[in-house]
């Protein structure tokens, strides 16, 4: 009997190793998720076209289309879809490529079941939080900048561009905490869900990128300011 419970989170598992997929499918079902399993790239795209998902788990070495290609195609239509890459490829180059293509997280095989389940939980929680906070404010304008949190498209004084989901999440969190100092630790906790691979330096790098997008003079920011020893402060001076 098909499971029609609408509250269940839907996960698309794209994995060509049958025995691994059987084990994952069982565990995800036990956790209360609804699972679709695609054995190759083509099948994955078909599933994505016909259904809506809350999260996609992708292997990289897949028949027809590899995981990077699938992630890129998903990002074209859905910039906010949480994507976790689960692969045997461990090189730093692959990790960087995966994250650049649009994956939100990268876990290498062999992995611990508990860790995988926690990461999935965290990603789904962040998606929910993002959905909730954008439902009341889909377009935000400050200075000469405009951010659309639905499609992640942005405008500044002289350019149009698209934010990555993580950049959007960080920006959203800063906007929600307007005029309040937010520590790096808090950002790691809330935006990166305490991912052990994230260092405070990563947060700083993201802030640098956001300043480049939205500040007229990134070295002398007027919106995203640093507060020595405390963190960051987002504020908009009335014009």
């Amino acid at each position: 009997m098909p499971d029609t419970n609408p509250t269940k989170k839907r996960i698309l598992l794209v994995e060509d190793e049958e025995s691994l997929a059987v084990g994952l499918e069982y565990n995800f079902t036990e956790e209360g998720y609804k699972i679709n399993w695609a054995k190759d790239g083509r099948e994955a795209l078909k599933f994505i076209e016909e259904n809506s998902y809350d999260l996609i788990i992708l292997d990289i070495m897949l028949p027809y289309l590899n995981g990077f290609e699938i992630a890129a195609k998903v990002r074209e239509t859905d910039p906010q879809m949480p994507i976790l890459i689960l692969t045997a490829r461990t090189s730093a180059g692959d990790k960087v490529k995966g994250l650049e293509t649009g994956a939100d997280d990268y876990l290498t095989k062999p992995f611990h079941l508990k860790e995988l389940l926690l990461r999935i939980k965290g990603m789904l929680k962040r998606r929910e939080w993002y959905k909730d906070t954008t439902s009341d404010l889909s377009v935000y304008t400050f200075g000469k900048n405009e951010i659309n949190f639905e499609n992640l498209k942005c405008k500044n004084d002289n350019d149009e561009f698209t934010l990555t989901p993580r950049e959007a999440m960080l920006m959203k969190y800063l906007i929600n905490s307007k005029d309040r100092i937010v520590s790096r630790k808090e950002l790691i906790e809330k935006v990166w869900d305490m991912n052990p691979e994230i260092e405070t330096r990563t947060v700083d790098n993201f802030i640098v990128r956001l300043r480049k997008y939205f500040e007229t003079d990134p070295s002398n920011p007027s919106f995203i300011k640093s507060v020595r020893g405390a963190g960051y402060l987002f504020s908009v001076k009335p014009e």
Partner: protein, 339 residues
């Protein structure tokens, strides 16, 4: 910086180097001929002592030979560099495939063990997980065996446990075991013994040969696999024909199929896992038995025919097999003494 190591980069460098050489050569010939003509015309007037002796041509010819020699050497270096690049690429692919082949079953085993440990799994599901784990463990064992087996053959450390037996009976027994191992029904294969003779073989190694051929026949077939085998012999050799109904091989693939790390990609069956070692291992085993293996195919989707030739055992004639038998006996004695 990575681009600097690409094949295109090396081709461009090679072409530019050759153009430089040729231009230099052209300029040199032009300069020499031009000066020669000038000297011929006005040399006597400038200095009556200048002679046009034949010895003047010698440095020119030696120079030409040296330049051509240098150009030839550059070509050889370029060719070797390309071979090296191709090998590096194949090796990288191999490492990627082996990593995948090792980590995937390992992940699956770990996942199923953690599931059994942390969840209340029903007996039916437990049984399913255990079967999957056994399948993965078998896959891991095969991979490790192939790597270690090949290393032993390549380093000539492997001593075969040869036995003299009737080729037809032994090969039929081996193929039956192989097909049973891969759960093929008896309708899926047929062995015809036309004539047979005695051969000296290591049964376990020859089983690896047929395991690989059967495994490939299954993996590279779109429809239900059908294997036809014919065993024939003449005074010198046993000829085994192994014919499958798989996707077949293109002529360029037939040439490379026994190369180390070589793998075929077919979009009709893109999910074939492997390392590119299987048929290389098969070739090495047959070679070390004093035989040879070849492949032919009528083309795409028309199946493949592997032909194995093994020397007939004749104690007074076959030196190679006798040497293998001697080594095998020595090894057996050593093992008995150690025990």
């Amino acid at each position: 910086m990575k681009k600097r190591h690409s094949l295109l980069y090396h081709i461009i460098v090679f072409v530019v180097a050759q153009l430089v050489w040729l231009s230099l050569l052209g300029l040199w010939i032009y300069w020499y001929v031009y000066n020669y003509i000038v000297f011929e015309k006005v040399g006597d007037q400038v200095s009556p002592y200048i002679s046009y002796d034949i010895t003047n041509v010698v440095p020119f010819v030696i120079g030409l030979v040296l330049l051509i020699g240098l150009s030839f050497t550059t070509s050889v270096i370029f060719r070797n560099l390309n071979v090296q690049l191709r090998l590096t690429k194949l090796y990288d692919n191999f490492i990627g495939n082996v990593t995948h082949e090792l980590k995937s079953p390992l992940s699956s085993i770990q996942l199923h063990l953690e599931t059994l440990k942390t969840r209340d799994v029903s007996p039916e599901k437990s049984n399913e997980f255990i079967n999957l784990m056994m399948k993965d463990a078998h896959r891991l064992r095969n991979l490790i065996d192939s790597i270690l087996g090949l290393m032993a053959i390549e380093q000539k450390r492997l001593v075969y446990d040869l036995e003299i037996c009737d080729a037809g009976t032994m090969i039929k027994q081996i193929i039956t075991e192989s097909t049973e191992q891969f759960h093929l029904s008896t309708d899926a294969y047929n062995v015809e013994i036309i004539s047979s003779s005695e051969i000296a073989i290591d049964k376990d190694s020859i089983k690896i040969v047929f395991d690989n051929l059967v495994d490939n026949a299954i993996k590279y077939s779109v429809n239900d696999v059908k294997i036809k085998m014919k065993i024939n012999s003449n005074t010198k050799k046993i000829i085994v024909d192994f014919v499958d109904n798989g996707i077949g091989l293109l002529p360029k693939e037939q040439k490379k199929i026994f190369n180390k790390f070589y793998r075929i990609y077919n979009p009709d069956i893109p999910n074939v896992k492997g390392t590119g070692l299987g048929l290389y291992w098969v070739k090495e085993i047959i070679k070390s038995h004093g035989g040879k293996i070849s492949v032919s195919s009528e083309g795409k989707d028309k199946g493949s025919r592997f032909t194995i030739e093994l020397p007939v055992y004749k104690p007074a004639e076959n030196r190679y097999v006798n040497k293998l038998l001697k080594n095998s006996r020595k090894q057996k004695q050593k093992v008995t003494a150690d025990a």
